[in-house]
Structures are given as C-alpha cells and as structure tokens.
C-alpha cells in the first residue's frame, strides 16, 4: 500500500514539475477559459439580470471546453518519448500511474479554473453565495472531467486528428456533470437547497475515482499495441 502511494506521489510530482517547465501549456488552458467567459458579457450586453442567469452555464461550458483543450496532451507526450512503454512495464498496477496522471492533470488544468471563478463571477454580477456554490460545484466536477477525459485521451492515443474525435467521445459523457454543476448554482440563486446537486456531483466523483483509472489503463494497453 505504501509503495503504491509513493508511486502515486512520484507520478504526480513528475507531471507537476514537467508542467512548471512547460508553463505555456498550462497558461493556454487558463487564458482560454478567461477569454471565452469574458466574451459573453461583451456579446450579450450589460443587462445584469440576464447575465446573472447565464453565469453558471457559461462558466461551466467554458470549463468543459477548456478541459478538452489540454486532454490531448495527457498521454501523447509520454507516448511520443517512450515513457508510456516504461509505465506499462512498471511493477505496480498501471491504474495507479494513470490516477497519478489524472490528479496532476486536474491540478494543472482544473484547479486554476476553480480559483479563477470568483473574478469571472464579478463580470456576471453573481451574488456571493452563488459564486461559492459555483466554486464548490467546479471543485467537485472538474476532476470528473479530467478522469472521463483521460479515457478518451487513452482511446484516441496516436490517432491522426485525435483531438476532434476526443471531444466527440468525451463531451456527451460529461453532460451529467454539466447538468448537476449548473443545477446547483441555479438552485442556490433561486433560494432552494443545492445540497442534493452537490451530493450527486460528489457521487459522480467517487464513481470516477473508482472506475476511470482502471478503464483508462485498459484503453492504454489497447492503444499501445
């Protein structure tokens, strides 16, 4: 057990160090998110009622698209330089390594979006409570996006034009996360209880942690043949 945790830590730290040395990749995701979200108030106009209503949907859809942007790189760099072969040959289960890569991917591409949300919420004149619920829902939901996305990234590994295929595969699977995520904020702004939405998001997260690493590991073994 300890060895497995240690390995998880090694993989997460390795991917974070690599991300820090290739900062441009990290920043593209974040800047894309900020740009897309900021375009909406400019395009729709300054009616604050409408903006308040749109805000959760716009932020969630933008987070979804931003997370698609960085998914292609999740395994492809390791595939191209041969590291993935070494991971397949690791004496620990491959799903542990995959979970480590998912965690690192979320910390690099999901967590910054969550932290950026309060600033972007201001543009939509969101009430403070709604911003808090939005952050919570993103905090629970973005890891699920990274994990579901990893399955798609593993399946499309090494394919030409894999990026588009990846989005087509993954986006439909992300719809439940989107519905519960925006639903929580909608419930909070209309004064209803939002805990059921967050519980469902939490349940999705638990399911994703339990199954997606294993599925992704199988997909990687198929793609490497």
């Amino acid at each position: 057990m300890n060895k497995i945790l240690l390995l998880l830590f090694v993989v997460v730290r390795r991917d974070l160090v690599l991300a820090m040395r290739r900062r441009a990749d990290v920043l593209t995701t974040l800047i894309f998110f900020v740009m897309v979200v900021s375009l909406f108030p400019l395009g729709v106009g300054p009616e604050s009622d409408m903006l308040r209503k749109m805000a959760p949907g716009v932020l969630w859809v933008s987070a979804l698209l931003a997370s698609m942007l960085s998914l292609g790189r999740l395994f492809s760099a390791d595939h191209l330089d041969g590291t993935l072969e070494q991971m397949l040959l690791a004496p620990q289960p491959l799903s542990v390594l995959v979970l480590g890569k998912m965690v690192a991917h979320w910390m690099v591409s999901g967590l910054p979006l969550v932290l950026m949300t309060p600033v972007l919420g201001l543009q939509f004149d969101m009430p403070l409570e709604a911003v808090g619920v939005l952050m919570l829902s993103l905090l629970l939901g973005t890891p699920v996006l990274s994990m579901i996305g990893a399955i798609g990234a593993a399946l499309t590994l090494g394919l030409r034009g894999g990026g588009v295929l990846l989005s087509l595969l993954v986006l439909p699977l992300c719809i439940p996360v989107l519905i519960f995520g925006t639903g929580a904020v909608g419930a909070a702004t209309s004064g209803m209880s939002y805990s059921s939405h967050l519980s469902l998001l939490g349940a999705l997260l638990v399911l994703a942690v339990a199954f997606t690493p294993w599925v992704t590991a199988q997909a990687l073994r198929i793609s490497m043949e």
Binding site: L7, L18, L80, T83, M87, L89, A90, P91
Partner: protein
C-alpha cells in the same frame, strides 16, 4: 528462465513470424537478427507484453507471463528505440524518476555515480534537451546500471553511440551475465561480450 514456444505474431494482416521457439537461461545472452522489417522490434515488444501474440506461449520461470503481469514486469528492463527521457528534465531527474517508476529506490549519489560511469560527468544536472543524441542515449542506458531486473530487453541499444560507449555496453552486458542476468537485444553493429557464447536468433522476412 524465459521460455518461448510456438510464438506467432502479425501486424495488421501481415504475418511477421510463426512457430518461433527458444529458451534463455540465467547467464545467457541472445541477439535477435534479421533484415529491416523482419519483426525484431515486434518480437521484443511481444516479450514485454505490449503486443499480444497470435499464438504461442511466453513463460517466465514456468508461469505464463500474461498471468504473472506485474510480477514479471518487475523482472524486466526494456529499452526501445525511444529513450523514454524527458527533454525538460535533467539526466539525473530522469534517472531517478525512471528508477522510482520501476520500483527501485535510488539515492542521489548512486544516480550520479551511474551517470558518471555512462560518461555524463558534469552534465548530470543539465536539461536533456541540450545534450546530443548519443548523450541522451547514454542517459537512457544509465538505467541498466541502477536496475535490479534480471532480464534486459534492448532494442538497438547501440544506436547513436560512439566506440567508447559501445565498449562500455559490452562491459555492462558482461557484468550482468556474470550476475546470472539475461540479455536479449538487437543490433546491426558488431558487439562482443567476452566469456560467454552469444545465442543467435534469426528472423527471416516471410
């Protein structure tokens, strides 16, 4: 001990080899020979479990490798055409990470000693992207020095290496065989390992 019997492998519709069998005991070294496209790399990748064979059995100490899975992987060191090193990391970081991935605990001084022996003295902490092709290959081959694996599977280990490095690899093979290790490799360059007879396996293009 590695035993292969009646192995067949194809890529797409193209049959690469069939009915292949050999056994490798501790202390033995085998060179896989064949023309370009005869399936040398596919054979080595099959032995590592990356490719599922069409037919046949690969057994490690009597048990099927697909049943052993991780227990077998911990005994194997594979180095393919790709170096499996990251350009952004230094040779030292690369070596420590790959050791950790293969479950080996490696101290800083042992890692530096391994890189120095591979002729990378003074370049241990430089990002790999500033090194030459040969130096990158040396950095990748440093894994041979720190691994505890019994079976080395090496695809063209001599690619991009100079004469001194080739001599060093010959020396490392000799040491590994003396510890009752096993080596399977491919190369198009002459390689002499003193003290043992090299088994030769020829793949002919069908």
């Amino acid at each position: 001990m590695l035993e292969v019997s009646n192995l067949a492998c194809s890529r797409g519709d193209h049959r690469l080899f069939s009915g292949l069998g050999f056994a490798l005991s501790p202390g033995q070294i085998m060179q896989v020979q064949g023309e370009n496209g005869s399936g040398k790399t596919s054979l080595l990748r099959t032995l590592c479990g990356f490719i599922q064979p069409d037919e046949g059995r690969i057994a490690w100490e009597g048990a099927d490798v697909s049943d052993l899975a991780e227990a077998y992987y911990s005994r194997v060191l594979y180095l393919g055409h790709l170096n499996a090193i990251k350009d952004e990391l230094s040779a030292l970081e690369n070596l420590k990470i790959s050791a950790a991935l293969s479950g080996v605990e490696l101290g800083e001084s042992a890692a530096i000693a391994a890189l120095r022996r591979m002729g990378l003295k003074g370049r241990e902490r430089l990002p790999v992207k500033v090194l030459s092709q040969g130096q990158r290959r040396r950095a990748a081959l440093a894994r041979l020095l720190v691994s505890g694996a019994a079976l080395w599977i090496l695809d063209e280990p001599l690619a991009a290496l100079d004469v001194n490095a080739v001599a060093l690899i010959e020396e490392l093979f000799g040491e590994h065989l003396a510890r009752q290790g096993m080596v399977i490799f491919t190369t198009h360059q002459p390689l002499l390992v003193s003290g043992t007879e090299m088994i030769s396996l020829s793949l002919s293009a069908p």
